[in-house]
Every structure is written in C-alpha cells, then in structure tokens.
C-alpha cells in the first residue's frame, strides 16, 4: 500500500465537491422537515433535477440555465408531493416513496437520448487574489459557483430560521400545527412553500451531480444520495450548520475510500465503496442514542397529517 501520494489539497477539494449535492438536498429537506413535513422523495426530486438540468444545459449550452431548470423541475416534483399530502391528505411516507420511484422512472425515460453526451463544463470561480494563493487558493477558492451557493443557502437558512419572523412562523408550524392554525397562520400554504423550496434545492443537488461532479447522464446516477441527504438531516438534528458538517464528513469519507482504493489497500473494493454509507448509519445511531435529546430537536408535528377542523 502506497500512502506517499496523499495530498491534503486534493482531500479538501474532493470533499467539497462530493459534499455539494447532498448539502443542497439536505438543507432543502431540513426546511421541509422544520415545517413539519417528511418528504421521502428527495432521491426522486434530485434525479429529476439532474435530467432537467442536463437536458437544458446540453440544448442551450448554458450551465446557468440548466441549474435554473433543475431547480424548477425539482420544485414541480415537490409541488406534486405537496398537493397530494397537503390538500388530498395522502400519507406522507407512502407518497414520498412513490415520488422517488416516479422520479427515477420519469428521468430514465426523458434521459434515453442523453446517455454518453458530455455537457458543456461549468466555469470555475477565478477570484483575482484569493484563487492564486498557494494551497488555500486551489483548496477553497477555485471551485464552481454552485459549491459556494450551497454554503450560502446553508447560511441563509440558518439566519432565516434564527432571526426572522418567517423562520419563526415556519418553526411554529412544524412544532404545533393546531396552535399555529388557531393563531391564524395558513399552515397548508406555508408547508407548500417549504416543500417547493426543498424540491428546488434537491433539483440543484441533482444537477450538480450530472453537470459538474460526474459529469454526464446515466440512469439512476444519484445512487442513494437523496437517502444520504435524509439521513444527514437527522444526523444534523435539524440544525443548518450541522448539515454542512455532515455533508463534508460524508464527502471526506467518500474521498478516503477512493484514495485507499487507489493506494491499493488490501480490502475488497466493495467494503470501501460501502464505507461512507456504513459510517453514516453508525453516526446516526450514535446521534440518536440519547432518545430524549433526539426527540427534543425533532419538529413535534413532523410527518403528522394536518386537517383543519373547527
């Protein structure tokens, strides 16, 4: 086994890129869950965003337009989920699972003619001084704009939840929808907004996979990233900055397993490939070991059907 090629710059760079798609999806899902809705369709919204973004980028030769299309596509999928669960009062778990299957199937259908095409590349950021700094420059300041957008959204969600009235109302709706309703807040409308925001974020995460990280279209390319995002929300105990931490942790483990494979560690490749997922599960178990603490952080109305009765 050869460890001489270890390079911290590559570690951080790979980690930030691997973390970005799940960071998008997870911060979106965090907002959805904060409003009291459990949307298990993240995977479906991600892959639908991935193909929407890919198609628009290839046809119009614009990664920026592609990203917009991905956000809109994800939000539309989420809207479908929202209409079903909020107005028709369908079960959130079953609807979310169905959304995942629907998204996987629909994207495979739409993407048939796009397999094997290479999309136009997304420009990297080139900041005058920062990008030229030794080590720190390539490590932190030379990525594409999406990496920074993801971090900015995390910061924005944190500030909104903590300091603004909109954030307070969102938390209130997720905490006790009956009380929020009694005070005159439009529970369903607020939740629908949150669900669509979550969908848009998931779509962006998917497009980041197909346009930057891989970059090309293959069926089922999200490969469980949506589920990891869901796990990271729990891992983060519904706190935005911990989503960032969780996503980076997952990204770091992803890099390490690739690196160890390349370095020829004498362990079957399958074990290494599964390690990020295994570690996610282990961390989840540790995080939720204290039942009371985990229960205290979760929005109290999470996953409960709201039906206004007077």
């Amino acid at each position: 086994m050869d460890l001489s090629s270890f390079d911290p710059v590559v570690l951080i760079t790979t980690m930030m890129i691997a973390a970005t798609p799940i960071m998008f999806a997870a911060i979106g899902e965090l907002v959805v869950e904060k409003s009291g809705v459990l949307n298990l369709g993240v995977e479906g919204m991600m892959i639908f965003g991935a193909i929407c973004g890919f198609m628009i980028t290839v046809n119009f030769d614009s990664p920026f337009l592609g990203m917009c299309a991905a956000a809109i596509g994800g939000a539309l999928m989420a809207l479908l989920f929202g209409l079903l669960t909020q107005y028709l009062l369908s079960n959130q778990v079953a609807t979310g699972l169905a959304l995942t299957l629907f998204g996987l199937g629909l994207s495979a259908l739409l993407g048939q003619r796009y397999a094997g095409i290479k999309p136009p590349s997304t420009p990297k950021l080139d900041l005058p001084i920062l990008s030229d700094l030794p080590i720190v420059g390539p490590m932190l300041f030379s990525h594409d704009f999406m990496v920074y957008l993801a971090i900015a959204i995390v910061a924005g969600v944190w500030a909104t939840l903590k300091y603004t009235r909109v954030g307070l109302i969102l938390r209130a709706v997720g905490e006790n929808h009956d009380a929020a309703h009694a005070l005159g807040y439009k529970v369903v409308r607020i939740r629908l907004m949150a669900i669509m925001f979550g969908g848009a974020c998931a779509g962006l995460g998917g497009a980041y996979l197909s346009l930057v990280r891989v970059p090309q279209w293959t069926e089922g390319m999200t490969a469980g990233a949506g589920w990891i995002a869901l796990a990271i929300v729990v891992f983060a105990s519904w706190k935005p900055w911990r989503v960032l931490l969780g996503a980076w942790l997952f990204g770091g483990v992803t890099f390490l397993q690739l690196y160890l494979q390349a370095a020829g560690l004498d362990v079957p490749v399958e074990y290494l490939s599964m390690s990020p997922y295994v570690i996610t599960i282990v961390v989840l178990v540790i995080m939720s070991a204290d039942k009371n603490k985990a229960a205290m952080n979760a929005p109290a109305s999470l996953g409960k059907v709201f039906h206004a009765t007077h």
């Binding site: 109302i169 938390r171 905490e175 006790n176 009956d178 929020a180 009694a182 009371n292």
Partner: protein
C-alpha cells in the same frame, strides 16, 4: 363593575346560527357584552360555547346572524382581523409551542411584533405590572401549566385588547394561582377591558363574573347575575334537570392493598417530571385523591403503578407481593388496572372500534382470547355491557373511538376498567371534559367500586371532585408526593399549600 347598565355596549351578538352536518352548534344565539364587564358563558360540553367564541375570534363563519362591535358591524374573516379589532383569546389548549421560548411564542400571536430584544423588555414590564412573573427566554416546554397560561395572557395583554376571551382558564391552576388570575382579571376589568369567561366551575363564576349567559344544546336558555344564584341553581340551568349528587356509603377500610415505597423514577418523556421518593398506601375500600397542577408527575405515577414503566421490583407492592418489574398485562392478571388521562392515543386507540378497544385492556381479565385467538362474541358482549352500564352515547360498538365525543369516550374508558372488577384501580382525570351529569355518574361508579372493596387512586386537577369522593388527599408537586391527609375538613388554603410546595412562595404581588 356591578352597574353594567350604565356602561356602553361593546359587543352585541344577534341571531347567530352555525350548523354542522347533523348538528346545530349555535341556534339563534344573542346577547350583549358591556365595556369592562366580566361576562360568563356557561354550558355543558357540546352546548356550543366553543363554536360561539370561535365565531367572535374569526375562526368560524356564522351561517346567519350579526355581530356588532361598538356600533359597527363586525365580521372578522380570520383571527388576524379579530385581533386588529381588539379581540384577544386565551385558549384552553393547543396554542403554545413547546420547543420555542416565551418571547417567540408571544411574537407569534402578535400582528407586528417589535424586535426580540424590545419584546422581551415589554414582556418583563407587563408581566410585573399585572403580577404575572415570567422569564421571556424560558423554553415553554419546561414551564408549569400556570406559567404557560401566563404566557397566553401576556400575549393578549400586549395587544391592548378591548375584549378578552378566556376558555376554561382555571382548570389547570392551583387555588393560589386562581386567586392571582382573578386579581389580574379584576384589574383589567376596572381598566375597561371586557372579559368573556367560559367555565363550568360555578363557584368561580359566582365570585368573578358580573353577568352570565347560559347555553344548552346551542340555544340561549337564560341569563342571570351569578352572584344572586346558588351554584346548584346555575348547574340546573346548564343541565336543564335536577342534579344527582354522588352518595358515599359508610364503610370500613380493609387492609393495605396497594403500597408504593420510596419510588424514584426518571420520566420517560423529555418534558416530563421525574418521581422522587414517592411513598403511599391505599387500603381496600379506600379512595386516595391525588391533586396537583398538571405536569407534576401525575402521568409518571400512573405509568409506574399500571406497569407501563417498570420500577425496582419492591417499589410497588400489591397485598405485600412486589409487582414493580411486571408488565401491564401481568399486573392486569393480578387485578391492577389503570385509566390514563389522554383518551385518544393512550387510553384508547383512536382509529379502532370500541369492540377492539374493549379487547385491548379487557383481554386478560375477561378471558377474551383463547390460545391466541380472539373470542369476538365475548368481546362484543363486553363492549355492549360497557356502553349500556355507563350510558355511552354512540350509534354502535363498531364505531371508531375517535368518533365519540370526549365525554362519551371518557365514560367508555373508565367503564371498561371498572367493569373488570379491579382490586387496584388508578384513574387520571376521570371526568376531564365530561359534562356535569356524566361526571356525577363516573364518580358514583368509582364510589361503588370502592364500596365493593377495591383500592382506588384518583388523580385529578379538579379539587371539588377530589373532596367529593376521596377518603384521603395528597398532592404531587414536582414529582414529590405530600403526606396523605384525611380529606374531610381540609381547607382550600391547606390544599393549596400542599399543592404549591415551594411554588407557593412565588405568589405574585398585585397592587
């Protein structure tokens, strides 16, 4: 403010009607509320009180009829509009957010809240002015019921209301806290705020309210000045019939049946209260009443005796046999039964039929299962027996528990345990939300069960109820149980001290 005829009319309700499928909740309801008046709204469950106040607060639209506020037509489309016109409401439950702090909770109930820092200062200021001390940064989930209510009241006061609606405000308070609340309300009333006060505690209404309107089955059946009527007259106006007061037989107490010694137990829920060194004894034929403000360990005590939470084996004994490590079904076999407070989701499974719910706790003692198979015929028979003996009003035993009104489901839940002939029965809030005549029937059934030699613990927030049926009285305060004292002859002040414990020191000052 006794001379209400002189002050201008604040709110005039006329001909309000609201029908739901199958029931007319309000039928041509009309009355007037004057400025600065404390107006009581009296009625049994289902009399239409809640629907009426929801119409005033803009949560429900009337089918017909008009409301006039200070001479102008008043049709609030939503609570926001009602609040803007000076209507504020303190809810019975459902309107606080446990995980948020006091200031955040209050901000949510305001139209244009100031910055959090300024709001916190305002909260401290107003809460001191009205003698309701409150820390704006405390998390609501950790507050006592009385403190939670202060949050709601202050939320209303910050909006400078003209009419304050209070729905059953004292059901969760200690007597001292009730006194504090009344002082606050009288101060408000003297400043010109009208108060619409909903309650079924008649003595309170007699001491606080200037006028009363009585509703029965959605109609106004009378109005009076409560001071001039006796509590019994008021009750009979509400019920429309002569009340039956539970009778207790003279009885001799037997040996100690249930013993709890030095029981300490952490609460299973994050906002619960841990039990600390609880010791008690109940004899055959005895009813031990346990009072105390909700959330002081009542649920935990019931769980420890019913077996929902296991304790050290010797901490709970029945006839001298330790049972602390047995499961609920093993205890049921030993004739230890319980009826918890939360009807939907704890005492009964909401979406299951009454027959299935009868099976859930009755299977062991009634022999409703044979080698793993359910004997549905016997189970249906058992459910029918409960429905008949306890006058549960339902179309049939196949109806889901959720479809019953609170009072009827409560009768079912208590009846299901009583009819299993327990040696030990623990009930928590047996008559919560049950109307007066049904409550009397439930209490009578508990007295009858005790007369047959069962040892009974009744946990309740309703002191009148505890005084009516218990032989001895003890109070839970922050997980500690006071010594039990004979209930006969206890004064309200003594009870308040037992319930308040250290809390009684913080009784607020009102000038």
């Amino acid at each position: 403010m006794t001379d209400t005829g002189e002050t201008p009319v604040l709110l005039h309700l006329d001909g309000l009607t609201k029908a739901y499928p199958g029931v007319v909740a309000n039928d041509n309801v009309g009355f007037k509320i004057h400025e600065g008046e404390v107006h009581a709204l009296l009625g049994e469950n289902g009399a239409g009180k809640s629907t009426l106040v929801k119409m005033i607060y803009g949560l429900v639209k009337p089918d017909s009829g008009t409301m006039t506020l200070r001479g102008e037509r008043f049709e609030p489309a939503e609570p926001r509009a009602a609040r803007a016109d000076g209507i504020a409401m303190v809810f019975q439950h459902f309107s606080l957010f446990d995980a948020l702090n006091v200031a955040e909770n209050i901000a949510l109930g305001m139209e244009k809240p100031p910055k959090m820092g300024d709001l916190a200062a305002r909260i401290t200021e107003v809460s001191e002015e009205y003698g309701l001390p409150l820390d704006p940064h405390a998390v609501v989930g950790n507050l006592s019921a009385g403190e939670r209510q202060r949050v709601e009241i202050i939320r209303c006061l910050l909006q400078d209301p003209k009419l304050l609606i209070m729905d059953e405000p004292t059901s969760v308070l200690t007597p001292q806290e009730v006194q504090t609340l009344f002082q606050t309300l009288r101060k408000l009333s003297s400043e010109g705020t009208a108060i619409l006060y909903i309650s079924h505690k008649l003595e309170e209404i007699r001491s606080l309210c200037d006028e009363a309107t009585v509703l029965r089955l959605g109609k106004v059946v009378g109005s009076c000045t409560p001071r001039e009527k006796s509590a019994r007259e008021l009750a009979e106006m509400m019920v429309g019939e002569v009340l039956h007061v539970p009778e207790r037989a003279n009885k001799d107490l037997g040996d100690v049946v249930l013993g709890v010694s030095d029981l300490s137990m952490p609460s299973p829920s994050p906002f619960g209260t841990s039990l600390k060194n609880v010791t008690l004894e109940v004899r055959a034929g005895e009813i031990l009443g346990i009072g105390g403000v909700a959330g002081n360990g009542q649920d935990e005590l019931l769980a420890a005796i019913s077996g929902e939470v296991k304790t050290s084996h010797g901490a709970v004994t029945v006839n001298g046999t330790p049972v602390g490590a047995l499961s609920p079904n093993e205890r049921r076999k030993l004739a230890i039964l319980a009826a918890p407070e939360e009807r939907l989701g704890h005492a009964a499974a909401p979406d299951m039929s009454l027959v299935e719910n009868a099976l859930l706790t009755g299977a062991v003692r009634k022999g409703l299962t044979k080698s793993g198979f359910v004997d549905w015929t016997a189970t249906r028979e058992f459910a029918r027996e409960i429905i008949k003996d306890f006058d549960v009003r339902t179309p049939g035993s196949a109806n889901a528990a959720r479809s019953l009104s609170g009072g009827n489901l409560q009768k079912f839940v208590v009846g299901r345990e009583v009819l299993q002939d327990p040696d030990v029965l623990v009930v928590n809030q047996p008559t919560w939300g049950v109307d007066a005549s049904a409550a009397a029937a439930i209490r009578q059934s508990l007295l009858d069960l005790a007369a047959k030699g069962a040892a009974i613990i009744v946990i309740s927030q309703d002191l009148d109820e505890l005084m009516e049926i218990s032989d001895r009285f003890a109070a839970l305060n922050e997980g500690t149980l006071s010594d039990a004292r004979p209930a006969h002859g206890l004064t309200v002040d003594e009870i308040g001290l037992m319930m308040g414990g250290a809390h009684s020191m913080e009784v607020a000052h009102v000038h």
